[in-house]
């Protein structure tokens, strides 16, 4: 991508011990979710303890990168001035397939905001921000992947 989807002065993630693995996978364009190594419960955002069994042992589960729109909004007034010329843009909570219900808040791209609906099937599209950072956004999934199992 030659031009950034958002301007450079957007906040950038600072990884913590718990989130580093997620961002490392993202840099390789792999969408993952943290999964408790003891009881199997998934959680997002990544954290130090399983909210179900409190185990600190966890693994990264590779996801297919597809999901469905759980909810969304169309931002029409930006509070960061440099985003003003990107309006309107779509912010969505995407329920990720095969993640046992984990949701990722992100943007929907390559779509007319008026066409977005809840439960719409979407797939990840990565934007490389640098050698160590890529951000996952989502676009409508081609019809062939619609209805993929969760």
């Amino acid at each position: 991508m030659t031009e950034r989807w958002f301007p450079d002065e957007m906040p950038m993630p600072a990884a913590s011990a718990e989130t580093m693995g997620w961002w490392e996978a993202a840099a390789e364009h792999r969408l993952v979710v943290q999964r408790c190594a003891q009881c199997g419960t998934t959680r997002h955002p990544p954290g130090p303890l399983c909210p179900h069994c409190r185990s600190s042992a966890s693994q990264w589960r590779q996801l297919p990168g597809t999901g469905r729109v759980y909810t969304f909004t169309v931002v029409r007034q930006a509070f960061i001035p440099s985003l003003s010329d990107r309006l309107p843009y779509v912010v969505a909570a995407v329920e990720l397939d095969d993640s046992a219900g984990a949701r990722l808040v992100s943007n929907l791209v390559d779509v007319d905001p008026a066409e977005v609906t809840l439960d719409m099937a979407v797939e990840v599209v990565w934007e490389d921000m640098g050698p160590e950072l890529a951000l996952p956004r989502f676009r409508p999934a081609p019809a062939t992947t619609q209805g993929r199992g969760r």
Binding site: F6, M10, P11, M12, P13, A14, A15, S16, E18, T19, H44, P45, P46, G47, Y70, T71, F72, T73, V74, V75, R76, Q77, A78, F79, I80, L83, R86, Y89, V91, A93, R103, L104, V105, S106, N107, P113, L118, L135
Partner: protein, 389 residues
């Protein structure tokens, strides 16, 4: 709340500062004005205060206010749960006076958000300055505070068929109450059509689905029934209180976007007060956005889950309606300086003292003040009563 006789917690005085536009005052001066008036209302002076509860947007906030007010309290509380903070601070103060740790707690709030920000829409920004950790997961996408509440509104519409017109009815009712409040920031009557035809800020929330941004402050005095017996105002009893949280500031971590912490704090507070939602005569519910009120009336049990839209239609929140709510005009019309919770308590007390003026609910005996903080992250319910429990 369950204290031995004499040390039952009461609110003995309340006041608001001037509002909604105070370009000539500092934040501390707003605290000072509200505190001075609340003490005068209670028939007390600063010399009587031995506890201080307040919160704001930087650490050691209460000590700063104590210095400004010239107080050396033996009880300090600056618990910050966002917009619900002041319900929590009054709950804590009630426990403290009932335990005998302190006798007179001044709970005070002040803000000059409007004069500092110089804009009038929404309640704040969305980007920049995020620490490492989970909150960053929501900070990268240009979402706004309004946008976060819009995510909940859209989901509620999807699950329950709630309509933009039903959300708009909340704003219309608040404005109708604000018409009777000479201090209210917006007093011109509006219609459902005005709301849904105002510009979209973050779909499905329009400009008029959003609270105003104001300067202002408020304060109350929490003391014991015994102490209040010698004071001029009829005491208002703290019958029950509770608070809860579902997530921090990231909507990705909120278990359900249509179920708020009020579903926990409400039943717990009502149980402690020994009442049911049907016993409540008047409510002061945090109305940062119209959806906030719809979610709150459901989660507090004033109607079934999903029926909030129908509940607020056709004047359900107005005088003579099912649940007269935000009788001062609320944050949607009267005043929203950032953390409005203190205003909810002041108006609840005024209603129970029969000082509601044109929007007085006849014979109001039990009032609920419910604050909502963060991104629907926290809820705090305070049940207040005219009579001793």
């Amino acid at each position: 709340m369950s204290a031995r006789r004499g040390r039952r917690a009461v609110i003995a005085g309340v006041a608001t500062s001037d509002y909604p536009h105070l370009p000539h005052l500092s934040e501390h001066a707003v605290h000072g004005q509200a505190a001075d008036r609340a003490l005068a209302d209670a028939g007390l002076t600063f010399a009587d205060v031995d506890g201080l509860a307040t919160t704001g947007f930087f650490p050691m906030y209460a000590t700063g206010v104590a210095e400004y007010l010239g107080l050396h309290p033996i009880y300090l509380d600056e618990t910050n749960t966002g917009g619900s903070s002041f319900e929590v601070l009054v709950e804590h103060a009630a426990y403290a006076v009932e335990a005998g740790a302190v006798d007179v707690v001044l709970v005070t709030y002040g803000s000059v958000q409007l004069s500092q920000m110089g804009r009038r829409l929404g309640t704040g920004g969305g980007g920049g300055g995020f620490a490492p950790g989970p909150a960053i997961y929501d900070a990268l996408w240009g979402n706004t505070l309004v946008g976060n509440y819009a995510l909940a509104a859209r989901r509620h519409m999807h699950e329950f068929g709630t309509t933009p017109e039903q959300l708009a009815a909340v704003a219309v009712s608040m404005r109708r109450h604000a018409a009777h409040n000479p201090q209210a920031q917006e007093r011109e009557p509006i219609t459902v059509d005005d709301v849904v035809s105002s510009r979209l800020v973050a779909d499905p929330l329009h400009k008029l689905d959003c609270c105003v941004i104001s300067d202002g402050g408020a304060a109350c005095i929490v003391t014991t029934e015994e102490r209040a017996a010698d004071l001029p105002r009829a005491p208002v009893y703290v019958l029950g209180a509770a608070h809860a949280t579902t997530h921090h500031l990231n909507m990705s971590a909120m278990p359900s976007l249509t179920l708020t912490p009020a579903a926990q704090s409400g039943p717990a507070a009502f149980a402690r007060a020994g009442i049911t939602p049907q016993d409540v005569d008047v409510a002061q519910l945090y109305d940062s956005f119209t959806i906030t009120v719809v979610l709150t009336v459901e989660d507090l049990g004033f109607c079934a889950k999903g029926e909030g839209g129908a509940f607020v239609e056709d004047g359900g929140l107005e005088l003579g309606g099912r649940l007269p709510t935000n009788t001062d005009g609320g944050g949607l019309s009267a005043c929203h300086p950032g953390m409005r919770g203190m205003f909810l308590i002041v108006e609840a007390v005024r209603q129970l003292r029969g000082e509601g003026g044109a929007t007085q609910v006849p014979n109001a005996a039990i009032a609920v003040a419910h604050g909502t903080g963060g991104m629907l992250s926290t809820g705090a319910t305070l049940v207040l009563g005219k009579e001793a429990p």
